[in-house]
């Protein structure tokens, strides 16, 4: 086992850090206040190739391995979780198409997604359906030369600016995925404002009223929209969010190290108070643990290991809790300043909370992680000794 980054990964990491320090951090609080991501910033992200980060080079992408892609998400997440969520949803759609799109879809869409000429969003959730995603109510009915979509999608990250949506609907009662272009007849896009966190991520509702899309926009096959298309996209999304959470927590830690080194109370710097040290220690250790879980998930992903899916889920679960706990402490350490819009830690706390809800809420992760535990320790044919004893007892 080797836990060191390769030279290439280290170089990529310093490139990402420099980009985030220069282009994102100085403006992120303003984007959050304005609930808007400027186009120029998205263009810069595109120019750097970050929108096609994980797509292979022959599709116009940067062909990053999972670890490098993770580092990119950590760095962007350190600067601005809204922008990181653009990277997340855009890459979720790209990856779903790369795996399950037909030849035409791959040839037509992937190069445009890789270059950022086209921005993609992921439209699964609905007003009545969140965690129980396979019960979506939107329908897709086949007419002669097109499908007709009816229903409503909600909370769609960057839905206000996306050119194409990966949308999920019941086709003859079976969950199915489709590509929906923004100017399709019958589609109305309504912006959502006033969210708690990731406020610059330009959320939208999609109203589909007899919305017509061409037959060739079916992605994969009827009935495989949830089990395969959404699942592989969400797996990608969880990986991206997990690293993004490490980024939020890292930003909190760095802010606290600075602040406690500058502010004095009771005649000494805050860092001299042992109760402050306790918080710093917990932050640091949890960040390192989260990052290691992310590395492990990344390593398994690069190996195409089926365990990578659950290990990613574990990383996302732990990292999102770490982000929230760490941001909470960061606000505490900053006192009143931490509650003010002049400091970033209040944004980190609001953004972190979102991470415990999206891409499978923490309760849903707990359910699947516990199931994984039983699969590993009770039912696996290669049971470790301890679980053989467990089995014997039950």
């Amino acid at each position: 086992m080797n836990l060191e980054l390769t030279t290439q990964q280290k170089q990529a990491q310093s490139e990402f850090k420099a980009f985030v320090n220069e282009e994102i951090i100085p403006h992120a609080n303003q984007y959050d206040r304005q609930e808007h991501t400027p186009n120029e910033l998205i263009e810069k992200l595109a120019q750097k190739g970050y929108l096609g980060a994980a797509l292979p080079k022959d599709k116009g992408g940067r062909g990053m391995d999972a670890i490098a892609f993770g580092l990119l998400n950590e760095e962007i997440g350190r600067g601005c979780s809204s922008l990181r969520s653009l990277l997340t949803v855009h890459n979720m759609v790209s990856q779903a198409l790369l795996k399950w799109g037909n030849r035409f879809q791959k040839e037509n869409w992937l190069p445009k997604l890789a270059s950022g000429e086209v921005i993609a969003a992921f439209a699964l959730s609905e007003p009545n359906v969140g965690s129980d995603a396979k019960s979506i109510e939107t329908t897709a009915t086949r007419a002669e030369n097109f499908y007709i979509l009816n229903g409503q999608k909600k909370w769609i990250t960057y839905g206000q600016i996306a050119d194409v949506f990966l949308v999920f609907a019941q086709n003859e009662g079976k969950p199915t995925a489709f590509l929906l272009e923004k100017n399709s007849p019958g589609l109305t896009i309504k912006p959502i404002f006033g969210m708690l966190g990731t406020r610059a991520s330009m959320l939208a509702e999609l109203h589909l009223n007899g919305c017509k899309i061409p037959l060739e926009n079916l992605v994969c096959r009827q009935g495989f929209g949830f089990s395969h298309v959404a699942s592989s996209a969400l797996d990608y999304g969880r990986y991206s969010v997990a690293w993004g959470c490490v980024g939020i927590a890292q930003a909190c830690l760095e802010a606290c190290i600075q602040y406690t080194n500058q502010r004095q109370q009771f005649g000494v710097y805050l860092k001299e108070h042992q109760l402050i040290q306790q918080m710093i220690a917990e932050m640091l250790v949890n960040i390192k643990a989260s990052r290691l879980l992310c590395y492990q998930a990344g390593y398994l992903r690069d190996n195409g290991d089926p365990k990578s899916i659950m290990e990613t889920s574990i990383a996302k679960y732990f990292a999102s809790i770490t982000a929230t706990k760490t941001a909470n402490k960061a606000v505490q350490i900053h006192g009143a300043n931490g509650c003010s819009s002049e400091y970033s830690v209040q944004r980190y706390l609001r953004d972190a909370k979102i991470m415990e809800i999206i891409e499978g809420s923490n309760q849903i992760q707990q359910i699947t992680i516990a199931e994984y535990g039983y699969q590993e320790y009770l039912f696996s044919p290669n049971l470790p000794v301890i679980s053989q004893e467990l089995t014997a007892r039950i």
Partner: protein, 83 residues
């Protein structure tokens, strides 16, 4: 293909617990595993047998039982060899 059968059986054992799966038993009839299962199965087959599951392979008929998966593997490896 005997080896393939037992490798698939071993993998599925994690999900179906103490139930001794028969080679032609329909695994989908045993109930919904969870939302991660389908993609875990795809990754398992791809890694274990060094093939790529594509869009056109996604037919429940190809994954419904151990025998069905072995047949799919047979077909896919013959095509690759043929190419």
């Amino acid at each position: 293909m005997k080896a393939a059968k037992s490798r698939i059986k071993n993998f599925l054992a994690q999900y179906f617990g103490d139930r001794e799966l028969q080679d032609d038993e329909n695994i989908f009839a045993l109930g919904f595993v969870n939302s991660m299962f389908a993609m875990q199965l795809v990754l398992f087959i791809e890694k274990e047998f060094e093939i790529t599951i594509e869009n056109e392979d996604l037919d429940l008929e190809n994954f419904k039982s151990i025998n069905a998966m072995v047949n799919l593997l047979d077909r896919k490896t013959t095509v690759v060899a043929g190419n």
